[in-house]
Symmetry: C2
Subunit: 189 residues, 2 copies
């Protein structure tokens, strides 16, 4: 399987996260790698684009991000939601979570962290060190240094999901998700 990806202009990369989808956070350092699911991730700024993400202090992902200063966000399609849930059910210290979950990867462009296949879009991120936020709130601020999207679902700054299987997803709790739903337009009155 070869994932198609087109670059997304950095100043428009916030549009990928603006609607609040689930992200897979991947990380790597010195030959070790991991992936976790995150709902607590959002844009923080437009240009240069920044994001914030919450990463638990005890997690293996945290260890790898603090070692490398990098992470990637991959926005999973609904059709791999079962793997997204599985990525939240074990620790990467116990087993290679990519192998365990069946999440396949391909290389990032600007950072040394794998991106996850079968996703709608990808953001490559470099941590802006903010020790107080990281230690007190498990909150990481990062600059987006590259962004990509599958042109079948996102192009010219807009999402256009062709089918249910290739929609982004939103997490509720206990294995329950929402698909990103119907688009609608409002006019300023």
């Amino acid at each position: 399987m070869h994932d198609k990806r087109q670059p997304v202009e950095l100043a428009k990369s916030y549009l990928l996260l603006n609607h609040g989808p689930v992200a897979l956070v991947s990380s790597a350092s010195h030959g070790r790698r991991n992936v976790m699911a995150a709902s607590w991730v959002m844009p923080l700024d437009f240009d240069p684009p920044k994001v914030v993400v919450v990463v638990d202090g005890r997690s293996y992902t945290r260890e790898l991000i603090e070692a490398s200063g990098e992470f990637a966000l991959s926005l999973p399609f609904r059709r791999i939601a079962n793997k997204v849930l599985a990525a939240g059910s074990i620790s990467g210290r116990e087993a290679d979570k990519f192998a365990h979950t069946g999440l396949a990867t391909f290389p990032a462009g600007q950072i040394g962290v794998p991106l996850v296949r079968d996703c709608a879009a990808w953001l490559e991120c470099k941590v802006i060190p903010e020790k107080h936020n990281q230690q007190r709130y498990d909150l990481f601020i990062a600059e987006v240094v590259a962004a990509w999207a599958d042109p079948a679902v996102f192009s010219e700054g807009r999402w256009h999901f062709p089918d249910s299987a290739r929609r982004t997803i939103h997490y509720q709790a206990g294995g329950s998700f929402f698909e990103t739903g119907r688009a609608f337009e409002c006019a300023n009155e």
Copy 2:
């Protein structure tokens, strides 16, 4: 119109924001009040519950939040999306945005800030002062001190949207939104 609301247990209030909906951020100080729309809002912690929200440094909302140390998040139903968009189109310094947009209010329980009617849920928040985050990133961290939901759409820790008009919404850009879509369950394998 009388909005029905039931209290949501504080430790479960993160569930209201977990799926990434648009929020109306209302604020008040010394007889002045305002409301803005925000997509850049998410949970930060479970218990005590915290949230983060980005509030532009030049906004009237920012002035009121910094004066009072409080704000409320109201999660609008799809049926008032046009008013949500209108709330983003003028400054509260120019006109009373509640009057301008037709967004009606009712009193909060724990804070002196109005909640917005015709919404799915509400979170009452007190700012945890973090000057560096506020000044450098326009990022506010707050503790959730009370939470409420319309039992027609949220009860026992789960969303159950009865119809399209009463779904929460997610912002794309340029007046384009998504409804919160179909729910689906995954089982851990």
